[in-house]
């Protein structure tokens, strides 16, 4: 395995229940604010209204695009503006788009299928919308980017994988600039799916707490502008942060359950540390996956206490809900913003330690030392992905 050169991050953008942009999100996180509530985007037939974290999508309805792509567009526009690039100025440059989501192109429009099932010819509009809404393609089209585009569908680690793979495009010289991130919308299909798996909490999510019952779903998008040293050097742009390393590994154990010893997560952590040249004592904090499901949090706590004892960690899902394919990207953005602010928020929802968990998250706003941090994701299919991120130059 080769040691990676750091890849500069010159722009950040984020949209989720915690806020309409990154500044608003960080303010909510450090104020300890969260507002999970019963879904308003759709209705369900469940006896219990499992709370969700809906994102404030102020953009007017772009009828031709799925909500996932519209969320992605908002966060991407913020990240690009933050980087100081306009789409016009990037014309002719090799700009790629690498986006994580849970589905890149699906035929699962519920209304369409329900009508068909009932023996009615449904309107084709929803299918056309799906075919025109591939997230990476939608962003490339909107901004006129002509480099590679990739929509990663690695379930809940997609956002983390997209940032790691986007960074490799810069290192390999494929691209001058990469828009990397993740986006996912809330919908009935995923809501019913997670409910059927009996891993949703009917009260606000409690990551790593003794009484955790499961996750709350969320939605949103997180975007990073990754920029080559050549391009950055030409305009003397300070980096807001760095992607230092990326590791990923499959448990090869079970479709929905993590490996009980977290073997895949351990390998992903080892790779992220090794390729970034970091040792555990250089890690300021870990932004954990921390979904609030009994299994996930147990495995993660065990692995963290094993591999990174004494390193403070937290889950930000108490503020955002589990935004699935967007989660890894949103959390990478938060991680970089926390490194910038040299502090991390409290792990909201955690109050009672679980004797089964050897490590517990931070309960209050914590000042952190060190210039590097990790953000980790675990996913269905046994995927584990970890980003090593570094503080910027400002």
């Amino acid at each position: 395995m080769r040691k990676h050169l750091p890849v500069a991050v010159t722009g950040l953008g984020c949209l989720c229940a915690a806020g309409a942009d990154l500044a608003e999100c960080m303010a909510s996180l450090f104020a300890g604010k969260r507002q999970p509530k019963a879904p308003t985007l759709f209705t369900t037939g469940h006896a219990v209204a499992y709370p969700v974290f809906e994102a404030p999508l102020a953009e007017p309805e772009q009828a031709g695009l799925l909500r996932t792509s519209r969320l992605a567009l908002v966060a991407a526009a913020e990240a690009l503006a933050d980087s100081g690039w306009s789409p016009e100025a990037l014309r002719g440059k090799r700009v790629g788009v690498c986006i994580g989501t849970t589905i890149g192109g699906t035929t699962s429009d519920e209304g369409f299928c329900r009508a068909l099932r009932a023996g009615v010819h449904p309107d084709l509009a929803p299918m056309k919308r799906i075919l025109g809404s591939n997230p990476a393609r939608s962003l490339a089209r909107e901004f006129g980017f002509t480099g590679p585009s990739q929509t990663i569908v690695n379930a809940c680690s997609s956002g983390t994988d997209a940032v790691g793979i986007g960074a490799s495009w810069i290192r390999a010289g494929f691209c001058d600039l990469v828009l990397a991130g993740g986006a996912d919308e809330l919908g009935r299909v995923t809501y019913n799916g997670f409910t059927s798996l009996m891993i949703t909490d009917e009260s606000p999510v409690k990551p790593f707490d003794k009484n955790r019952k499961g996750l709350n779903l969320g939605e949103g998008a997180g975007m990073l502008v990754l920029e080559s040293e050549m391009l950055r050097g030409r305009r003397n742009k300070a980096a807001r942060g760095f992607v230092l390393g990326y590791g990923s590994a499959c448990d090869a154990h079970h479709l929905t359950a993590p490996h009980p010893e977290g073997l895949g997560l351990k390998r992903a952590l080892a790779e992220a540390l090794q390729c970034s040249g970091l040792t555990p004592d250089a890690i300021a904090f870990v932004n954990a996956h921390g979904t609030g499901t009994p299994d996930n949090d147990r495995v993660e706590s065990r692995v963290l206490s094993d591999v990174l004892p004494m390193v403070p960690f937290l889950s930000t899902k108490g503020y955002t809900g589990h935004t699935l394919g967007a989660a890894g990207a949103i959390e990478a953005v938060f991680t970089l913003a926390c490194l910038e602010q040299r502090r991390i928020p409290a792990n909201v929802g955690f109050s009672e330690p679980d004797p089964e968990l050897p490590a517990t998250p931070v309960r209050e706003i914590t000042v952190v030392q060190g210039a590097a941090a990790l953000s980790e994701s675990l996913a269905f299919g046994g995927n584990n992905a970890v980003l090593a991120l570094g503080r910027g130059e400002s």
Binding site: S196, L197, M198, H254, L255, T256, A257
Partner: protein, 84 residues
């Protein structure tokens, strides 16, 4: 058909246990792990199957864990709810 027999057929049919027959499943045999070899995903599927075929809801996995030990415990749970 008794609840136990019905359950065995549902198990084979819905969980695609094509390689065994109802006679192969012992009433007391553990459904998970070493016994029948089912796993956590089968457990939540069984919760849905019990509701679909018997109209009986298993609220959460705390309730589920006790009921889903074996065919015998699950049948007792279902029959108990029906007469209650």
């Amino acid at each position: 058909m008794t609840t136990k027999d019905k359950l065995k057929h549902i198990l084979i049919e819905e969980l695609n246990l094509e390689d065994i027959t109802a006679e192969d499943i012992g009433d007391e045999e553990p459904l998970f792990g070493e016994g029948l070899g089912l796993d956590s995903l089968d457990a939540v599927e069984l919760v849905v199957l019990v509701q679909r075929h018997f109209g009986i809801e298993i609220k959460d996995m705390e309730e589920g864990r006790a009921a889903l030990q074996s065919i015998a415990t699950l049948a007792a749970f279902i029959d108990g709810r029906r007469t209650a």
